[in-house]
Amino acid sequence: MTRLHLVWTILCLAILSSCAGHQQSAIDPAGPQSGKIAALWWGFFWLLAVIFAIVMAVMLITLMRRPPSAIENRPPEQAESGLKRTVTAATVITVLLLFVLLIVSVKTGKATADLGKQSSLLTIEVTGNQWWWQFRYMNSDASRILTTANEIHIPVGQPVLIQGRSNDVIHSFWVPNLQGKRDLIPSRVTTEYLQVDNPGVYRGQCSEFCGLQHAHMAFYVIAEPKDKFNAWMQAQLQPAPAPTDPVLEHGRRVFLNYQCIYCHQIRGTTAAGQNGPDLTHFASRRSLAAGVLPNTIGNLGGWIVNPQRIKPGTHMATIAVAPNDLQPLLQYLESLK
């Protein structure tokens, strides 16, 4: 048996070392909450690893040792008393350890759950749809409410309140590097606090099975300093400018004539569809189709012509765009910075 455990430990170390990638990893925290949880994880891990090692050692010894004498089927009682003491001691230690783990876990839970009761909290309403994310930056002044999709910017170092809703089935909002997950359930609002300390780009993914394209329902959280965030917010609040270039003008007319207007909205044009993502500042987003493809003109073309090949089952319609209309449309969409 010892050969096995040698192999096994080498295997573990090899695998553990390979989790250096920081993409979407729960043990690579970038905020106070995920930091506390990661600390709790390593605490649990090492304590329980020690217990595991002890139990395995005892098990191996029971395998290796030669029984001293041919003990009768029913050993005399007093030989048992030594064992009785060790087993009761082991049980008591288990109970104490579990109690310690319980206290530590509940304390961490309280610390990570409610970050702060400031009044002027940045609130983002997350609405899960079947296979994309709608984000709305809430604001007391209705004209400053920003609706965007599949990507949010957050000021560094400031707590953010996430209000979770869903338009259809149960999804789950989860950015492993920042905080634990919170389900989005139709007919109720779930809340969660989020705070980021190190600026950067963090990927999140839906983690409650929500149908055909549950695998392709990702989003990005971009943490940046306060001033860059405010600049981004101002830019996002502006409607799309009327294009001057004739090709872009042609693209804009194509967008308004085809079926796009039934689902998508571009502020500054007459398109005001609510079923699909808001495309006013589409080109400013890093990804396309909820984190599936990088946002390049080639990917956008492939996505518009045949979305079912990229996300089979998606609710994006398959529209036969005439060849001479396609390029201007792509140019126009990529101009919506």
């Binding site: 695998i15 029971t62 003990i71 089927n73 049980t91 259809d168 149960i170 549950h214 089952g313």
Partner: protein
Amino acid sequence: MSATPDAFASVPSEHTELSLLENAWRHRPGILGWLSVTTHQAIGMRYIVTAFIMLLLGGAEALLMRTQLARPNNTFLGPDRYNEIFTTHGTTMMFLFAVPVMEGMAIYLIPLMLGTRNVAFPRLNAFGYWLYLGGCLFLYWGVFTNTAPDVGWFAYPPLSGPQFTPGKRADFWAQMITFTEVSGLCVAAEIIVTIFKMRAPRMSLNRMPLYVWSMLVQSFMVIFAMPAVVIASSYLLSDRTISTHFVNPAEGGDPLAYQHIFWFFGHPEVYIIFIPALGFVSSIVVANARRAIFGYPAMVLSLIANGFIAFGLWVHHMFATGLPQIGEAYFTASSMMIAITSGIQIFCWLATLWTGRVRRNTALHFAYGFIAIFVLGGLTGVMLASVPLDLQVHDTYFVIAHFHYVLIGGALFPLFGAFYHWFPKMTGRLMSEKLGKINFWFLFIGFNLTFFPMHILGLKGMPRRVYTYPVEMGWGPMSFLATVGAWIIAIGGIIFIVNVLSSRRSAHFAAANPWDAPSLEWAADSPPANYNFEHLPTVASRHPLWDPPEERAVVTGLRNDRREVLVTTLMDAEPHHRYVLPGSSIWPFIAAVCVSIGFAGSVFNPWYVIWGSIISGLALIGWFWPRRPFHMEP
């Protein structure tokens, strides 16, 4: 292995007594006879074989999933097919393999271990099996007609509701549960009554083998947990067929109500699968350490405590739904508490092995494999009990690794150990130890290669139930490693089948008690006759076959011309009265067919509930209708 003198050699009596007994317990010939069998060995074997076929189907689905996930952006399976396969994999393994195989083993072993000749209600036993078979056929009829469920094995609404799952897919899932839970309740009821009322004389409660205790606790859990899934699957079925609003968020229904009622059943369900495995390990350890179990009262109390606590921790499946913190803290505590009862059992087994003369046969290898894997699974379970950690790893591959460690490690390894331990009793032939050890190592290494990397995949943020994943996430290498491991497990499974098939016909015959084990089933011959014991044994201690021969007594005076067993009192098993069991009967099969027609039809047309209950009522009347001779002479 010195064969002890045959403990219960037949009391010298004329040849006619034995032939009378064999005649009374003989199965009827032909197809009709095969359908009307009511002896517990035959029905137990049918459960085990059918459940094993379901294991192979579930395993095949697992291989398909692993092949699709072997590398990023794979196109081996589309999303629709993948969702169907992962749901059918989960549903088959949980409802059609795990619970039925544990019940099948119990139906086979409990009467033997209690020193009686059949379960308390033989015809109900047959009815339970036919309904279970109906459930398997019903689900796989759906799978092969593109109507396999595709909403996950716990089918959360509103995704599984009428609006977001078109067609009859979720209905097939919900109705299959109706089949298996009714069959599960039948078996649980008869196991409880058999253990309470039909034990060998003087086998008081503190002399019962630990496997019998584990089946008693499991059966009570089935009695109290299965009604919860009756409600959950009926919620879904009535919402999808007669448009009630149980889980319709718009009309006051609540998806969380479904989650609460499902997991109130869901967590006891996984303990229903796991507790019989504790009984298997206890039997294997006692037989192969050749000494009494250490701390028998502690083991029994921890089994019972395990049964109670299992009903108090279901909300740890729902920590991410934003429940109030106080509730979550309570459920963290109760989820951690259950680690204590499992811990005590592990310590007691280790203490038994520490002081025993350990015989390292394949069954004990699986017991060691169980301890190694289950302890790791239990420790990751303690991690999942803590709310902040669970919020990070819930519904990720970390959870998949955890529950495979506690289900494959906790239930499948002891089950394989039990096969190797009781195969000689069931077939009269010993399995090859060499092939057995190869089989163990393939399963052990394949298992760890498959599921240990999943802990790391989970921590690296890979969610559950994704049919593919992007290249840049870095999940490719470990997913491929898991796929390689999965194929190694498959090879291990094939080796097991080869071992079984080659041993059934081998000349390597087994004595009545090849492992010199203490419990009563080793007093019957291998394989046992339909009536198990020619004279029912009595018990003088917790280890009847280890008692000196002069202390053993047998029961005489039962009539041999009809199927008679002894009913004993509950606490001290003093003989109370004789109980005449029904013989072979075709009516359980007819009743099961009528009930199946009612269940299957009600998925397509709600009126089948009425017609189904009418024909089932008629079949039951036919079953209970009094037949000659009415009066039983003493």
